[in-house]
C-alpha cells in the first residue's frame, strides 16, 4: 500500500525538530556563519532531541531502532533551520550509524555506548578527500594488512571537529573495496590540519586530516576480519544529505515566497508578476517531487534493500534541486538577496556544496 503520511511517532519527532529548527537553529545561523562559531549549548540542545539515540537499540545504550525514513524526516526539519548547525549536532551519527549497520557485535558493544549514552561529543567520520573526482569506490586513502594489523595512508578533508574528535571513522580502500576503520584520536600518525574555510557551512569547523603509516589493530576494521559492505551506509549518507537539501530548499522557498508577497514594484507585490510567481511554482514543484524520491530511497533502505541506485538518484536530484531553488531564492530577492543580512545567500552557498557533503550526515 502506498502512503505518504508519517506515523504518529514520526510526527512527534518532526514537531520537536521543527521547534528546535525555528527557535534555536535559525536564530543562531547568521552570527554562527559570520563568526565561524556554533554555541555549544545550541548543539547540546539539538542532541537532546535524541534523533541518533532513538536509532540505536537499548542493547547498545540507545532507546529505539534505526529507521532511515524517521531520520530523514527529522533531518529535513533541521536542515530547514540551519545546515551547519544540523551537521554539527548530527555529526556523531556519521560515526555511529556505520558501526550500527556494519559493525561486529564487539564493535557495537564497545563503541556505540560512549556516543549515545553521554552528552554530545564529536565522534565523526572522515570520508571526503581533496580530489575533484572524489568517489567512495576509488579513494586514495588505502590500508594494507601487515602482521595481522592494518597500516593506513592518505589524506582526508572536510572532517568536522577533527581536532576534538575522541575517535574518527576513517574510510579507506582495502584490497580494492571501501572499508572503514575506527581510529582513536591518540593513534600515532594522525595529523589534524588547520581549520578549513569553505564556500558554505562556515559555522561548522572542518579540518583536513593526514594519515601517515597509521597502525591499527585488527579489531578496529569495521565488520571484523573480512571488513564490511559499506555501500548501504554510504547510501544512508546520501539519503541524509539529500534530505538536508530538501530542508534547505524548503527554507529558501518559504523565505523568498514571503518576501515576494511583501516587496512591491509599481504598486503591487512582485509575487503578483508571473515571472516571479512561476519561479516560485517551479521551485515548489521541484521540491515536492524530489522530496518523494528521497523518501523512497530511505524506505528501501529500511526494508534492507541495497538502494545504491535509488540513493544515488535521490542525491543527484536533491543536489540539482538545492542549487536551482537556492539560486532562485536569491534571484527573487534581487540585490537584497546578495546582502548577507538575508539568509538566502548563505543557503545558496550551502546549496552548491551538497554534492560534496556525503559522509557529513547519516540516517
Amino acid at each position: 500500500m502506498f502512503s505518504f503520511d508519517p506515523s504518529e511517532e514520526q510526527k512527534m519527532l518532526i514537531e520537536a525538530a521543527k521547534r528546535y529548527a525555528a527557535n534555536d537553529l535559525r536564530p543562531a545561523a547568521h552570527d554562527a556563519d559570520e563568526s565561524g562559531q556554533l554555541p555549544q549549548p545550541l548543539i547540546d540542545k539539538g542532541w537532546e532531541l535524541g534523533v541518533l539515540q532513538a536509532s540505536v537499540p537499548e542493547a547498545y545504550g540507545g532507546f529505539g531502532d534505526r529507521s532511515a525514513v524517521t531520520g530523514l524526516l527529522a533531518a529535513e526539519e533541521l536542515g530547514y533551520g540551519d545546515l551547519a548547525g544540523s551537521l554539527a549536532m548530527m555529526a556523531p551519527s556519521t560515526f555511529a550509524i556505520p558501526i550500527l549497520v556494519a559493525g561486529t557485535e564487539e564493535q557495537k558493544d564497545r563503541w556505540l555506548r560512549p556516543v549515545v549514552e553521554a552528552e554530545w561529543r564529536p565522534y565523526v567520520a572522515a570520508l571526503v578527500e581533496p580530489a575533484f573526482d572524489f568517489y567512495a569506490g576509488a579513494m586514495q586513502t588505502a590500508a594494507v594488512r601487515e602482521n595481522g594489523n592494518y597500516v593506513l595512508n592518505g589524506r582526508k578533508c572536510m572532517v568536522p571537529f577533527a581536532d576534538k574528535a575522541p575517535a574518527m571513522l576513517v574510510f579507506a580502500m582495502l584490497e580494492e573495496r571501501p572499508q572503514a576503520f575506527i581510529v582513536p584520536a591518540t593513534t600515532p600518525g594522525v595529523t589534524v590540519g588547520d581549520r578549513e574555510k569553505l564556500l558554505g557551512i562556515g559555522a561548522l569547523p572542518t579540518h583536513p586530516v593526514k594519515l601517515e603509516d597509521v597502525r591499527l589493530p585488527a579489531e578496529l576494521l569495521l565488520g571484523g576480519n573480512q571488513g564490511a559492505d559499506l555501500w548501504p551506509a554510504l547510501a544512508a549518507s546520501q539519503v541524509a544529505v539529500a534530505s538536508l537539501a530538501v530542508g534547505v530548499s524548503r527554507a529558501a522557498l518559504d523565505y523568498s515566497l514571503s518576501y515576494a508577497k511583501e516587496r512591491e514594484v509599481w504598486g503591487a507585490p512582485i509575487a503578483q508578476k508571473q515571472s516571479v510567481a512561476f519561479m516560485l511554482a517551479e521551485m515548489a514543484t521541484e521540491i515536492e517531487a524530489i522530496r518523494l524520491l528521497v523518501w523512497e530511497a530511505a524506505w528501501m533502505l529500511d526494508r534492507g534493500q541495497a538502494a545504491t541506485k535509488e540513493a544515488h538518484l535521490a542525491m543527484v536530484g536533491a543536489c540539482d534541486m538545492a542549487m536551482m531553488v537556492t539560486d532562485r531564492a536569491v534571484q527573487i530577492l534581487g540585490g537584497h538577496g546578495y546582502i548577507r543580512e538575508h539568509p538566502v545567500e548563505l543557503w545558496m552557498r550551502n546549496g552548491r556544496g551538497f554534492p560534496t557533503y556525503t559522509g557529513l550526515a547519516m540516517v
Partner: protein, 410 residues
C-alpha cells in the same frame, strides 16, 4: 506510515496491462500512427470486454463509480493503467472505451440518477465512448469562464448553440458508438463563469455535427473533433449539477475544476508512460551496445551518456512519485488541487525533455521511422498542452502557494 509498496490489487492490473501494451499496442503502434483516424477496434473490443469482466473500471472513473471494498485504490490503479497503456501507445490509450473525461465530469458533478443513466452504457454489448468539450475557437485556457456556447431552456428541454473544438474522441463518442459528449455551455452569458454548466449531449441528438477532425503532430489515432451545435435539444435533466437555474453559483465552474483534479494526475501518468517508453528504449539500446550505466559515481567520473540517463531517471521517477501521491490523495478524499497541477507540470516537462533528449542521443536512429522514438517525441508534446498547459498549471500552483485569488494573480 510512509510506504512505497505497490498494493497486490494494483499488481494484478499492472500484469494484465503490460500484456495488453506489449502484445496489442506496440506491434500496431506504427501502423495506426501512419493511418490517422483509423479506429483500433481490436484493442477497443478487448478493453471493452476486459472492463466488463472487471466490473466496469474505466480510464477515468475508478470501479465504474461504485464503492469498492477495502481501502480506496481506484485512482492509483488508474494511474498505473494510464502509464502502462501509454507506454504501449499513448494515442491508442486515448481510444480506450468506457469513459474518459466526460464520465469523469458526470462522476464529479452528476446526481445518482444521472450517473446511472449516462454511465451504464459503458457496460453494454458494444463499446461506447465519451468526450468532454470545453475549448472553443476563441479560447482554451480561459475556459470555462469565457464559454460562448449557450443553453436556453425551452420547456422540458435545453436548446444548445455554439462550437467546440479540440474534443478528444468526439467522433467516436457521437458517431462511432452510442456515447455522449459533455458540453460546457452558459445559461446566462452576462453571468460569466457563474452561468456555466456542463450538459450531457448524447449520440444521435439532432442538431449536433462533427465538422472537422484535426490532423496532428502526434497521438494521431486519437480523434480530435470540432463539434457544432445548432438548435441541439437535450432533455432538461441532462444538465449536470444544480438544476436550480435561477440560483447562479460557480458550481459549474467548480465542477470543471474538480474534474481537472482527477484528470490531471491521470494525464501526468499517461505522459510518464511515454517517457518511460523512450527512456527504457534508450537504455535497452545502450545495453545492446555494451554500455552500462554506473550508478553512484560523481558527475566528474561519468560519461555524458551516463549523466543524461541518470538525469532523466531522476526527473522521471520523481514525477511519477508526485503523480502517485496526487492520486493517493484523491483516493483518500483529500483536496489535491495543488498536487494535481504540480504532477501535471512536472510530467509535462519531463516527457517533453526525455523524448527530446532520447531522439537526440539516438541520432539518425532516433529520427528514423524504423523505431518508435520519433513517434514518442511527437506524442509527448500534447501532454504539456491538454488538460491545462504547463503555464496554466503553474498559475494554479502559484496561486495556491501564495494564497492568491484569480484577481490577485492572472
Amino acid at each position: 506510515m510512509i510506504s512505497f509498496e505497490l498494493p497486490e490489487k494494483i499488481q494484478q492490473t499492472v500484469t494484465l496491462m503490460q500484456t495488453v501494451a506489449e502484445n496489442m499496442m506496440r506491434p500496431v503502434s506504427r501502423h495506426f500512427d501512419e493511418h490517422e483516424h483509423e479506429i483500433p477496434w481490436d484493442y477497443i473490443t478487448f478493453m471493452h470486454e476486459a472492463s466488463r469482466a472487471m466490473g466496469g473500471a474505466s480510464s477515468m472513473v475508478p470501479n465504474g463509480g461504485k464503492k469498492p471494498e477495502g481501502p480506496r485504490l481506484g485512482y492509483q490503479r488508474l494511474a498505473y493503467m494510464a502509464e502502462i497503456l501509454s507506454w504501449g501507445d499513448a494515442a491508442m490509450y486515448l481510444c480506450t472505451p468506457g469513459g474518459m473525461l466526460g464520465s469523469a465530469a458526470v462522476q464529479a458533478t452528476g446526481t445518482k440518477d444521472q450517473k446511472e443513466r449516462f454511465l451504464k452504457r459503458f457496460q453494454g454489448e458494444k463499446p461506447a465512448f465519451d468526450a468532454m468539450a470545453l475549448t472553443e475557437p476563441h479560447a482554451g485556457s480561459a475556459m470555462p469562464a469565457e464559454v460562448r456556447t449557450t443553453a436556453v431552456r425551452d420547456g422540458e428541454q435545453w436548446v444548445l448553440n455554439g462550437e467546440k473544438i479540440f474534443v478528444t474522441s468526439g467522433h467516436k463518442a457521437l458517431l462511432d458508438s452510442d456515447g455522449f459528449v459533455v458540453i460546457w455551455a452558459t445559461i446566462d452569458p452576462s453571468a460569466g463563469r457563474a452561468g456555466v454548466r456542463p450538459f450531457v449531449v448524447e449520440a444521435g441528438t439532432p442538431g449536433v455535427k462533427v465538422t472537422k477532425l484535426e490532423h496532428k503532430m502526434g497521438i494521431r489515432v486519437s480523434d480530435t473533433a470540432s463539434i457544432v451545435l445548432q438548435e441541439a435539444r437535450v432533455p432538461f435533466d441532462n444538465i449536470l449539477g444544480s438544476p436550480e437555474v435561477e440560483v447562479k453559483t460557480t458550481e459549474g465552474f467548480k465542477g470543471a475544476m474538480v474534474t481537472f483534479d482527477a484528470s490531471r494526475p491521470l494525464v501526468a501518468a499517461s505522459a510518464l508512460g511515454i517517457a518511460r517508453a523512450a527512456l527504457e528504449g534508450l537504455k535497452e539500446f545502450l545495453q545492446e551496445q555494451g554500455i552500462t550505466i554506473r550508478y553512484g559515481l560523481p558527475r566528474s567520473r561519468m560519461s555524458d551518456i551516463e549523466r543524461e540517463v541518470i538525469d532523466m531517471e531522476v526527473m522521471h521517477r520523481s514525477a511519477w512519485l508526485l503523480t502517485l501521491k496526487s492520486c493517493w490523495m484523491l483516493d483518500d478524499r483529500r483536496a489535491n488541487n495543488l498536487e494535481a497541477s504540480m504532477s501535471k507540470i512536472r510530467a509535462g516537462d519531463v516527457v517533453v525533455k526525455i523524448t527530446q533528449r532520447v531522439v537526440e542521443l539516438m541520432g539518425p536512429l532516433g529520427i528514423s521511422h524504423e523505431r518508435l522514438f520519433e513517434k514518442w517525441f511527437r506524442d509527448a508534446k500534447i501532454n504539456d498542452l491538454y488538460e491545462g498547459t504547463g503555464q496554466i498549471n503553474r498559475l494554479i500552483v502559484a496561486r495556491r502557494i501564495l494564497g492568491y485569488t484569480r484577481r490577485e494573480l492572472d
